[in-house]
Every structure is written in C-alpha cells, then in structure tokens.
Amino acid sequence: MMTIIQRLFMEACDRKDQIILQDLKEQWTYAEVMTEAYLIALYIKKNFELEAGSHLAVYTNNEPLFITAALGIQFSGHVLIPVPYSASLTEIENILQASDAKLVISKYAQPARLNRHIYWVTAQDFSQEPVPSFESISLTNPSDPNSCAILLPTSGTTGQSKIVMLSHENVLTNALAHGRKVGYTDQDSFLVTMPVHFSSTIVTQLISCMLFGTRIRLISLPLLPRTAFRLFQDKAVTAFSAVPTQLMHFVSDYHQTTNWSAFDSIEFIVISGAPIPAKLVDNLQTVFPQADIIQTYGLTEASPRVSMMDRGERCLSCGSPISDVSIRLVDEEENEVEGAAIGEVWVKGPNVMLGYYNNPELTNATIVDGWLKTGDLGFWNESGCLIITGRKKNIIISGGINIYPEEIEEFLYGLKEVEEVMIVGVHDDLLDEVPIAFLKVCEECLIDLDALTQHCNLHLSSYKVPRQWRIVDDIPKTKTGKLDRASTKCLLLNE
C-alpha cells in the first residue's frame, strides 16, 4: 500500500503531459499540478519548523489552489484539514483549534477578525519562489499508509468536536473502488459542483479523477446553473456529482428559459449527500437524456463511499457495496435482520475511518469490532440493493410506532404541487410525538390542504398522516444542503 501522494505521483509520471485540471480560464497538466504542489511543500519546509505529521489547513474556494495546496501538504508528510469556505469566522476558529492546526494555506491574507494566532500562508507568498522541475521531485520519508492523511470536520459540529481521521489507505482504496464502479476514464471531463471541503469531493471526485486520468473542471462557488449549463452546452463536461438540492436548481433554471437544448454530453450524474426523490430523476431525464443517474450511499466516517448503483441501473436504490466493503443490517439487539426488514447499517472494510480526532469515547461507541455503526436505517430490496429509509435519530416515535419521516416525504414528493417537503416530529401529550409537514409549494400552484390530508389518509397509515401543514417559502437546510431537521425542531419547541 502506498501513501496518497506516492500513488498520485505515480499516476502523474505515467500521464505527465496530460491535462488533468481546468478552471474557466486555464488548464494544467499532471506535471504542472505536481510541480506547483511540490513548490508549496518546499516553501513550507524552508520557512516553518513543523514536526512530521503536523496538521495544516487549506481554506480556499473551489479553485486549483485547493488541489495544489492539499497535495503540497501531502508531499511534506503533513495532514490536510480542509476548512469549509462558507464557514463563519467563529466556525473557522473552532475548527482550527479543535484540529490543532499549525498553519493555514489560503489565497488571501488572514481575515483581520480571525481571533487566532496561527501561521498563515497565501498564494502570493510562494508565487515568488522558483518553480522546481518535475524531474527534481523526490518523495523522501513517506508516511505510513495507515497513518492519518486527512482530518475532516463533519457537518453538525456543535459542542464537542467531531473530526474524522482518514488514513492514506482509507482514502486510496475508496477513491479507487468508487472510480472503478462509476467508470471514470481519461476521456471523461468531470465538473465539480460541490464544495471542495466535502469528503466526497476530495476522495470520490478530486483524488478519484486523478487516479483515472479524468479531467477535473473546478469552478469557484457559487456555481450558477447558467455557468454549468454553458459547459454542458459546449460538451465540455461528461459527468458531475451533485446533491439533490443543486439538481432541483438545475432543473428549474433549465425550464425557465428556452435558451438550452437537452445536455446530451452528460453520461453520468452521481448523487450524494441525500436521497434523490423519484420525481427529480424523471425531471433529470429531460435535461440530461443520456445520463445514468447513480445514487450513492456514504458518510465521511466511511471515506465516504459505502455503496452505489451500477451504471445503467434504472431502479433507484443505493446499490450494492463497493469492492472490499461489507454491510450488515442489524436490529436493536444488534442481530442481523432477516429478509427485507429494516435495520441499522453497519459497515466494515478498508474505508472505515481511523476514528474521531481526540475523541476516543465517541470512536469506541461508533466502531465496534471493526464495524462502523452508521446510525442510518435501511433494508435490502428484492434485487439485493440497499435502500436507505432514514436516519435512526430522525425517527418519530408516535404511540410506540416508528415513523420514518423520509418515507412520508418521498410520498409527498410524488404530488405535482409539492416542490420540497420536510417532516418533523413534534410533541404530543397523548402519543409522545406526531409528524407535521413543512411544504414548499411549486410556483403558481395552489394547494388545498384538506384535499391533501384526504389524499394522505387514502394512501398512508393514519399515524403517518401529518397532523399539521405549514406552507413555507423555503425549507430550512444545513450548509451542506441537507434538510435541517434539528434546528427546525428546536424552533418548534420554542413556539
């Protein structure tokens, strides 16, 4: 087994003059990316006395500097901490502190209001240095492939730190397995639409593309649909990954003008972050008629990919596990469930994280005998594919009956008037909890709530029918585009 940089450098030696990275203005070959990264490594070594394996943060928008800085950190034998570019200053301070960051690499100078004393390196600093030749790059004192390579602050970082430690082996095996299953080739050109600090962006997009010679199109955020559409129209992109929210924006913007014809250069779209409603898949077929929709399942703690659909598969699910990864579905007594029963998803394989940084208690509670307890619930369908039904912690227990909010949401998404929906549980004196619905209604649609309740009564068990409907302009989301159930529940509690 190799380290991330050993493996990527090997690929770069084979594909030296091939273009691997492109933004809106420029493009870079493997050799250019590697020499730029090596320059950053040399600059850090020359100017800072850091112990091997120090934690260095990268704070950038979606831009080439993220890749060169991240690789530079790997060349130096240090550990990468990707800091969300959309984080507030307080969040940045918390992340830098909790992860024991020694230095930050960014395009710009340290924000004046950032209340932390830390080495801060900008692109300007090392742009003065002479660029080394590709041939001069030497990989000395490689790290242990089982040591930590990346520290990832996960979403929901409130209170105690929850920073995932991924090893070189975690990252490389996952990037390779994902890339093989999705079928990246050196003829593909992949548009990154998600922020670079996501584990799925780093591992299954940036690193995976570099392992398979797939050109990375990296464009600063915010990515407006029209910017992506121009690339699609010019057939400059063959694939991309997105969260469902982003795809909803794509579909609605596509239909708002008559400027665009179907984007038939897109061969596959990888869905991550949240389950995709079936209605959205139908809508995507109009916009991207040639594209395979590949739904995936993963979590940062699993590097992140666990399972995914095969190319060409039409039946929507989270597919089968990627190579070398095993899944068990277990009940409350931790026994494997039988048949199509719902159980908690446990994952084992080379993708299971080293643990949470500085949090052995949480690590020990999460990884038991090598099995990662994901807290997600799912079942195997008749084709042996994984269906995720929801988060264990999202369950609404109403009169002792488990209600999966995601199931009711999926049902409501089937209605043409419903653009977005979120179901949360609220306290009820009698039943403990009952479901209520937040609805965003499609533009120019009127919705008759009595008729809606009747429709639900007809198709859903009575305990699943929302007791209350709230029409809202926007469904609350977290920064990663997921439904923000937690803060919505808090708001409801305070009413």
Binding site: L24, K25, N61, Y85, S86, A87, S88, L89, T90, K107, Y108, P111, R113, P195, I219, S220, L221, P222, L223, L224, T227, R230, T245, H249, D473, K477, K479, G481
Partner: protein, 79 residues
C-alpha cells in the same frame, strides 16, 4: 447614485430574500447566516434588479462577501 444602489440592495434585494442587512458594511455575510444557495439567490436578484449580467469569472464568494464589496461592485458595474 450610490445611495439609490444601497436603497435597492437593502430595501428590495435583502428584504425580499429575508437577509438581515448588516449595520457595518464590513460584516461578512457568511456570519449573517447566508449560505451558498443564498448567495446564488442574491446574485440572481442583483442581476435582475440592476439589469446586469455578472460574468462567470466574477462569480466568487469573496467578491460579494460583504455589503461593502457588493456596493463597490454594483457602483462600478452600473455606472
């Protein structure tokens, strides 16, 4: 000119998007709770209210990260 730009930004764009308009022009909008979708809405709304088209290469969080930067950008673009 600049005052009317700020009026549109504060009383029309920010008000319609339900974003709190900060007292200090240097307050990062990210600290006001605006997220990536919020930024996209902000840009689309600015384009429509001021009848401008922001070129792709200007579409960076950091160009619009405070109301001060937005006002400068709009002043330069709309004059």
């Amino acid at each position: 000119m600049s005052k009317s730009i700020e009026f549109i930004l504060r009383d029309e764009i920010f008000a319609e998007l339900d974003i709190k308009y900060p007292d200090d022009h240097n307050t990062p909008l990210l600290d006001q709770g605006i997220d990536s979708v919020g930024f996209i809405k902000l840009i689309v709304s600015m384009e429509s209210k001021f009848n401008i088209s922001i070129p792709d290469e200007d579409l960076l969080f950091e160009k619009f990260s405070t109301t001060g930067l937005i006002l400068n950008y709009l002043t330069e673009t709309t004059i």
